[in-house]
């Protein structure tokens, strides 16, 4: 799949910098099930970081730990070198961690534009009275929100459906709207849980292009889970590989491709 411009990896507007997210010795259990065991890795600012692994490897659990949906029994998370404890989804959103879900979670009764505006509005400061009376701060925030929303709609090429109720849209477009809503909050880190699951080749190419565009234009750090190895190797700077809740590989796509443990996990190994 040749959707990535040559310049993406060579001359980036936002060159990869130091660690923005560090996970140290994370272990997560559900009763007796060890979903994650002693996992450590970091995410560098402005990079595209992929988490891959076979079904049940703990990829979504890992993402949910970062997003604050699950609280690990052991381990530490640092965000911008600051130690986080008692992470919740609300806290994650405030820190600038946006996300999309494997099974799309959109406000289905709202339009595309409303969904994207919703992603932003909750960070506004204008009070009930200011909005009701249309005081300057409320008006200014409304204008900013609209401009940002329109910019995102344009970037994701969804102008034609901006007034459409989300429940009427096909799957591929819903995924794109969900990405748009996460972007609206201008996140530092974007967690994408299987952004290309269930898509056809053309939709996958589009989604790859959007992910790269977002990374290029806004410098957003991206952590994504993906099944399609081809896609992952094309767009990621570094890849971490999980299998049965343990980390079995970590490095550039080329490192990972030649890692014997990874090959065994994916192709199976004779015992």
């Amino acid at each position: 799949m040749n959707v990535i411009s040559e310049t993406h990896f060579s001359e980036r507007a936002f060159p990869i910098a130091g660690p923005v997210l560090e996970l140290e010795n994370i272990s997560l259990r559900f009763g007796g099930v060890h979903a994650l065991t002693d996992i450590s890795f970091n995410v560098l600012e402005h990079e595209v970081r992929a988490i891959i692994g076979p079904n049940g490897a703990g990829k979504s659990s890992m993402l949910n730990v970062i997003g604050g949906l699950y609280t690990p029994q052991e381990g530490r998370i640092r965000f911008d070198s600051e130690l986080l404890s008692g992470m919740t989804p609300g806290r994650a959103a405030k820190l600038g961690i946006g996300r999309t879900f494997q099974n799309i979670a959109l406000f289905k009764r709202m339009t595309v534009l409303e969904n994207i505006m919703a992603g932003r509005k909750l960070f506004n400061h204008a009070t009930f009275l200011e909005v009701a009376l249309q005081l300057p701060r409320a008006r200014r925030e409304e204008i900013e929100d609209r401009e940002k929303a329109e910019e995102i709609i344009e970037t994701l090429e969804i102008q034609h459906i901006r007034k459409t109720q989300v429940s009427r849209l096909p799957y591929g477009l819903q995924k794109r709207v969900e990405l748009g809503r996460a972007l609206a909050a201008e996140p530092k880190i974007l967690l994408l849980d299987e952004p290309m699951a269930g898509m056809n080749v053309e939709e996958k190419q589009d989604m790859c292009r959007f992910i790269i565009d977002v990374n290029d234009h806004y410098g957003t750090t991206i952590v994504l889970i993906e099944h399609d190895m081809g896609v992952v190797m094309d767009i990621s700077d570094r890849v971490v590989v999980l299998d049965y809740g343990k980390k079995i590989g970590d490095g550039t796509p080329d490192d990972v491709r030649s890692n014997q443990n990874v090959i065994d996990a994916y192709l199976g190994v004779a015992h």
Partner: protein, 302 residues
């Protein structure tokens, strides 16, 4: 039709419209919860009963009206917070059906608590607003309308305008719609489920108190108040489950049509059709306009 008949018709109509406002007030509590949780709150009738019985109870303890009112409002806010903490929070991301069952349980708890604390006798509630026709209005126009009905109309109007602004214009309103649609999505963009639910249930509790006070002043504070919640059902079906203006219009339609039906069609059935006429109307709506007058049209992919 002579003048007397016209005046009589107007009187029935106005009386019906104002009774309808009282139905709207009860239905408003349902709509609030439905908007935030997509759940029909079976406990709304119990909340009406709990709220007004507590209010009367506080007054019997010797508090005067203006002290008992804020105390009861505070109590309903506490009930809202407790509901969030002990009923809703453990059920985050569960199906709507689970929440529905939880509201049935909540109804029993509230009914039980209210009667445990305040006893089971029927109480009188005197708001100081007489439920008798206004003489000056009767002299002026020849139409008899009760002062209590007019008060109910004004109170409902104020509540509706306030809530409409809250839902459509503010951050909290947007958060509420978002939470109703998807818990996971709402959390991911930083909407605090906790605060939204607390706010909604407390507001529904306060609306229940207002409705309970007006109904209690008319028909006594008693267990039967729970039954008026049933009258809210046709109102919600006609108005649409998610629309604040919808329940007001539908409440007026239900109130006016049941009184007019009773007076003009009732005699053919031997009278007493007031009780079921609204449900017939609701059935007609379910057949031809299931989403109600102002509800959201549902689209289902097959």
């Amino acid at each position: 039709m002579d003048l007397y008949e016209v005046l009589f018709f107007l009187e029935v109509l106005v009386g019906g419209l104002l009774a309808g406002v009282m139905y709207s007030l009860v239905a408003l509590g349902f709509v609030l919860i439905y908007k935030a949780s997509s759940v029909f709150n079976f406990a709304q009738g119990a909340m009406v009963f709990f709220a007004v019985l507590s209010f009367v109870g506080f007054m019997e303890l010797g508090l005067n009206f203006w002290v008992a009112l804020p105390v009861t409002v505070a109590l309903m806010i506490l009930v809202g917070m407790a509901t969030e903490r002990f009923v809703l929070r453990p059920l985050v991301n569960q199906s709507d059906d689970t929440l529905l069952m939880a509201t049935i349980g909540l109804a029993f708890v509230l009914e039980g608590l209210a009667q445990m604390a305040w006893g089971v006798e029927v109480r009188r509630l005197d708001l100081g607003i007489p439920d008798v026709p206004l003489t000056w209005l009767a002299d002026l126009t020849g139409i008899f309308v009760s002062a209590l009905d007019i008060t109910a109309g004004v109170v409902a109007g104020v509540l509706v305008v306030g809530l409409a602004i809250l839902f459509s214009k503010t951050k909290a309103g947007l958060g509420l719609r978002a939470v109703a649609d998807s818990h996971a999505a709402a959390q991911s963009i930083g909407i605090p489920l906790k605060h939204i639910w607390m706010m909604v249930w407390a507001t529904a509790g306060i609306v229940a108190l207002v409705a309970g006070m007006l109904w209690g002043a008319r028909s006594g504070v008693q267990f039967a108040l729970i039954g008026i919640a049933l009258k809210a059902l046709p109102v919600m079906i006609i108005g649409g489950f998610t629309s604040v203006p919808g329940v007001i219009v539908a409440g007026l339609i239900v109130g006016a049509s049941e009184k007019l039906a009773e007076v003009y069609i009732g005699p053919y059935f031997g009278g007493g059709i007031e009780g079921w006429a609204p449900y017939m109307l609701a059935v007609v709506f379910l057949m031809f306009r299931p989403e109600g007058l102002f509800g959201e049209r549902h689209i289902r992919r097959v």
